[in-house]
Amino acid sequence: MTLKVTRPGLYTTVQDLGRFGHQSEGFSPAGAMDYRALMLANQLLGNEENAPGIEMTFKGATFEVVKDTVVATAGADMKMKIDDDHHPAGVPVHVAKGSTIEFGAAENGSRTYLVVPGGFKVETVLGSASTHVRSGIGGYKGRPFQVGDLLHAGAAGSATPYRIKDFDDGDGMVRVIPGQQFDRFDDDMKQQFFSASYALTKDCDRMGFRLDGPELVATPGHDVLSEPTQLGSIQVPKGGRPIVLLNDRQTAGGYARIGTVAHVDIPKLVQKQPGDMVKFIEITVEEASTLHRDEMERIRNGGYLEINNAFRSHGRPVARKVARIMKR
């Protein structure tokens, strides 16, 4: 046993990169909403990119360290505190038995990922550790964390000498591939969709983000025969407010789809908070594919990492002292 949940946070689950190969049976892929953040956190510990991590949403959890280990975080900054010391996001840190790791409210994003060496050990369902709460499968007992849950690291391990570079994903520009029912929207509607700003409403969760903005009307109607959904499908039901379908989406949907969010911009979108504005930019599927390939290569080839000059170790007096001296 490695970590014990002492406060579960708002919505905390175990996620890997998703459960694929079973959408034809109706299983949502689930998986880390910000796939890039999970991959980067895993890189900091030398894990496989798909190793299961913890996804925290808006407000983080608190853990008691039951066994010495090393942790890494990525994604939104939840002001991680180990005992009373603040630690920046994106930097691996050793934690000693008896310490408390505390996460607060998310800043510069909404989702934070926490990983341990080898990933968190949970039973896989249909080949994935991802939690899908609606069907109660995967992750930790198929549900969000509760007080007292006990988590195990998959392996003993140590940190790499890297940290995640600062990068700015703050703009609200989200690139979109024209969707299945793009032509149900006339030219004025298309122009509006690609020029107006849409706001994230409070109804934004792992299933999808409901947006608010100028009404989008599909003159031939908004209902279509149910068709498989994709990550980032933007469906427009009657009423004209778009919904972006995300990881826990239903695998089939029957509303007109104006577009699909390009994979490369999913991490940026899912880190937005309710009230944030987004603007959609049209790109072709060929452009989106090139961007996606380039981005995956950038992630995998260390494009987001830099050498960590101030490797931190918590709970080791000497290292702590060194860290304090370096801070001055």
Partner: protein
């Protein structure tokens, strides 16, 4: 045949624009053809009423080659292809506490017995799965059983419930809210993560509901518990 792409890693093939058994047969045959082609990087193929989606690995699959290969498939030949399917028998205890809405069909001039008569012992085609894991979109419901959904949806429908919503019949593998009229319940788990076939059927298969009484329901439930119940199915079609 219309080949379109709406996502980096997926190709959509449309074979029509309405719910039609013939289109389903073509799609099932097309899925087999794609499986046989053994194109590198193909992940999974997902069927819906009028189309199928091929998911692929953007680092392994040449999408233009995939498009060209699919484009060469003869649509009419798909209709003639002999494709086997399974008929899966689902035992259902109609009425009573399991089917609290069966009597409401009296509004439509049907007694509970007549509802069972019209609903059970006939093959329903599984067009696709979705909404929740293992939820089948079935075709073939008798028109006399069409019934608008409940005005106030139930907060909780128990897993295994069999019901009717509008022109569709189907069943709930998981507990869920919903506005369907509940006719009965099956003791057979429609999702079982420890079973070799987690979900019992796929698009193109057929479902047949066999009426059982409350004591058979309990008997089957305890046999399932003990692990000595075998789900009945028959393979049809093909050559």
């Amino acid at each position: 045949m219309e080949i379109r792409q709406f996502a980096e890693n997926a190709l959509t093939i449309y074979l029509g624009d309405e719910i039609d058994e013939r289109i389903n047969r073509q799609l099932v045959a097309l899925r087999h053809r794609i499986d046989e082609m053994e194109i590198e990087g193909i992940g999974e193929v997902v069927l819906s009423y009028t189309s199928l989606i091929i998911y692929f690995d953007i680092f392994k699959t040449d999408v233009d080659a995939l498009k060209a290969a699919v484009d060469q498939i003869d649509e009419t030949a798909l209709l003639e292809a002999e494709v086997s399917y399974r008929v899966i028998e689902i035992p259902v205890c109609y009425g009573g506490e399991y089917g609290p809405d069966i009597d409401s069909f009296e509004e439509n001039g049907l007694s509970a017995d007549e509802v069972v008569e019209l609903h059970a012992n006939k093959e329903y085609l599984v067009y696709m799965l979705g909404f929740m894991p293992g939820f089948p979109y079935l075709g073939g419901l008798d028109e006399r059983l069409h019934k608008a959904r409940l005005e106030t949806p139930r907060v909780r429908i128990p897993p295994g419930s069999v019901g009717i919503g509008g022109k569709q019949t189907g069943m709930y593998p998981f507990e869920s809210p919903g506005g369907w009229h509940l006719l009965g319940r099956t003791p057979v788990p429609l999702f079982d993560e420890n079973r070799e076939e987690t979900i019992l059927y796929e698009a193109g298969d057929r479902i047949i509901y066999r009426p059982i009484d409350a004591s058979e329901y309990k008997e089957i439930a305890s046999r399932i518990e003990a692990g000595d119940y075998e789900i009945q199915f028959e393979v049809k079609g093909g050559s």
